[in-house]
């Protein structure tokens, strides 16, 4: 649009040579958002994976004598129970660490399931077009018209909340963005030359989908997956908060907030701490996702 760039030849000479994976990786850490996000994410991943060794106590052990101890930075806090204890006397730090496992597990699994569903739908719609596309697009529109939170609440309440239920439910609800992105990408690629040549060579549809189209979607898929993972984690925390998600005594951060709610007026740290943890995790995922999007899809705006 603008004619203000000078010597086109000169500017073109200045482009860096084709990017290699290594260069992309190096570049990604230059991207400040991505770097911060990656660090946050790795800290939580670290905490989650090493929870059994890092946690000073068993997250399920109750001791009524020790209930509602404040964290170490407050008046009666001790280093023994660094983040205090909850209403049943369970060590908060330990619960927090194990809670990381829950959140990550749920986020990852839900994103995986919805990713598979959405990708298949997107592939079919994008590749075959016509009636198949019409049907799938209709399904996507329908899904977008549904109030996700309410449906999730209703379903979870009916079926009965549990870790498994939450994962499957979220997996069945969060596939829309995958489908949309994959569909759009496939439509673009479908008409590309190398697909035509594959077809000319007589490759089966499945083979084309798998070997030609899918590899090119990986970038977009990863970006959407990170976003949906964050989405799933937030939804699970809301479900658990209202009591229809993960059930006690499992240390879901959302559940911890719910359990702490009656005490929030006098001991706000009970709800503050898990909330901050959630925020840090989701922030990390979002930053990584945004960073990846900037790096992999530089011209995309979605």
């Amino acid at each position: 649009m603008s004619t203000t760039t000078s010597s086109s030849l000169v500017i073109n000479d200045y482009q860096p040579p084709a990017k290699s994976v290594w260069r992309t990786l190096r570049a990604s850490f230059g991207h400040r958002g991505f770097a911060i996000g990656a660090v946050l994410l790795m800290v939580i991943l670290f905490a989650a994976l090493l929870a059994p060794w890092l946690a000073p106590y068993d997250p399920y052990t109750q001791d009524v004598m020790l209930r509602m101890k404040p964290p170490v930075w407050m008046a009666n806090g001790t280093w023994e129970y660094m983040l205090g204890t909850d209403k049943l006397g369970r060590d908060y730090l330990s619960r927090l660490l194990y809670g990381a496992r829950i959140s990550l597990f749920i986020g990852f699994s839900a994103a995986l399931i919805s990713g598979i569903i959405g990708t298949i739908m997107g592939l079919l719609a994008g590749y075959f077009g016509g009636k198949v596309d019409a049907v799938i697009s209709y399904l996507i529109t329908t899904r977008l018209a549904m109030p996700v939170v309410m449906i999730a609440l209703a379903s979870a309440s009916l079926i009965g909340g549990s870790l498994k239920v939450v994962i499957i439910l979220l997996g069945c609800l969060l596939w829309d963005r995958f489908a949309v992105v994959v569909r759009a990408a496939v439509q673009q690629i479908r008409d590309a030359e190398y697909v035509a040549s594959a077809q000319a060579l007589g490759c089966s549809t499945l083979r084309i989908l798998a070997s030609e189209i899918l590899p090119n979607l990986v970038g977009a898929l990863i970006v959407v997956a990170t976003l949906e993972m964050a989405h799933a984690i937030l939804l699970e925390s809301a479900l658990s908060f209202l009591g229809v998600g993960v059930q006690p005594p499992i240390p879901s951060w959302g559940l911890m907030i719910a359990e702490g709610k009656p005490y929030m007026f006098f001991s706000p740290w009970v709800i503050a701490i898990p909330g901050v943890a959630l925020m840090v995790l989701v922030l990390g995922i979002n930053l990584v996702g945004d960073g990846l999007r900037d790096l992999i899809l530089p011209d995309g705006r979605n």
Partner: protein, 337 residues
């Protein structure tokens, strides 16, 4: 005294560690009522020059000059606010792409009027009347009807006429036209060209017409400045330039145009071998020397301009007076894009 004086205009664009010297010390002047054509190929810096004059360069670009004055007003020291007062008012600009140069959300009338109401104390009603007058001046019939229309309802040629009308609303001293006909059909091109020339005569405007098309230059220019790689390599009155080109580049350009009556059918057109040099980093010497058939060692030093009455050439070989030798080096010419 010339209306517009430009001395040693430079535009630099930082590129990471290096700097792109896009415009390297331009000197030129425009008289009242004169049509100066700046000719050059893509990338020679002519568009940046026009933006530099208006102080509309992109954020990263840096402009410097020894002198930049319009009718005695020093434009180098004007604040942004003061420049805003000049733009559209005494110094107007017409751009290359008529299809995208108008705001799609507002009517033609609205966009025409706002120039006038911005710079003059007139009522909206009077502004609309003037706008209608201007539209008629640029050859648009049904002016009042058109005022209510939106840009997307007009063709490219019509839009360019509107843009010209917009530039004229405050009767500026200078109009800078940056390739105003390049994006138009050939037939429309001719119409717009004629229009610009007529308008110029009628309003007594100074026009700086930027183009890559020598044929166009031949038709309308009073004076011509040939730009290459960020510098003006030759300036002369139009007739003088075409009859007696001094700079090897100018000669090369002229040799690449088919001349009706002279160029034989099937005769290959000349081209200038080589590529435009990179303007990144420090520049020394004549920028054309790597492509010039006459280049010598001395050309690697900065070349001072050779002046004669009205004709400036930045070349060691330029002869102050015209000579027949000028035409013999025309084996090589330059294909313009």
């Amino acid at each position: 005294m010339a209306l517009l004086h430009v001395e040693n205009l430079r535009v630099e664009i930082p590129l990471g560690q290096d700097t792109l010297h896009a415009v390297r010390g331009l000197d030129f002047a425009v008289e009242r009522g004169e049509m100066l054509c700046i000719v050059g190929e893509s990338g020679c810096g002519k568009s940046l020059t026009s933006l530099a004059l208006m102080d509309l360069l992109p954020r990263k670009a840096r402009r410097t000059a020894t002198r930049l004055s319009l009718d005695g007003i020093d434009m180098l020291t004007r604040s942004e606010r003061q420049m805003c007062d000049l733009r559209g008012n005494r110094l107007a600009m017409i751009f290359q792409e008529p299809m995208t140069s108008l705001n799609p959300a507002y009517s033609i009338g609205n966009q025409l009027c706002e120039v006038l109401t911005r710079h003059r104390k007139v009522s909206r009603k009077d502004a609309m009347l003037r706008a209608a007058q201007m539209l008629e001046k640029v050859g648009i019939s049904n002016a009042t009807e058109r005022l209510r229309q939106y840009p997307h309802q007009l063709s490219g040629g019509l839009r360019q006429r509107v843009i010209i009308a917009m530039a004229l609303m405050c009767e500026p001293d200078v109009i800078i036209a940056d390739e105003p006909t390049t994006a138009l059909d050939v037939t429309i091109q001719a119409q717009i060209l004629r229009l610009i020339r007529d308008i110029q005569k009628e309003f007594g405007l100074a026009v700086i017409f930027i183009t890559h098309d020598l044929g166009l230059v031949a038709r309308i220019a009073d004076r011509v400045a040939v730009m290459y790689a960020g510098q003006i390599v030759e300036t002369a009155p139009a007739v003088e330039l075409f009859e007696n080109p001094q700079h090897p580049y100018t000669r090369g350009l002229l040799a690449s145009i088919p001349i009706p009556g002279r160029t034989q059918p099937g005769q290959p057109l000349g081209s200038i071998p080589g590529l435009v040099p990179s303007l990144v980093g420090e520049q020394h010497g004549c920028a054309f020397r790597n492509r010039c058939p006459q280049a010598i060692a001395a050309c690697a030093q900065d070349v001072p301009p050779v002046e004669s009455t009205d004709h400036m050439t930045r070349c060691l070989f330029a002869t102050p007076t015209s000579g027949p030798a000028a035409h013999t080096a025309l084996r090589h010419g330059g294909a313009l894009s």
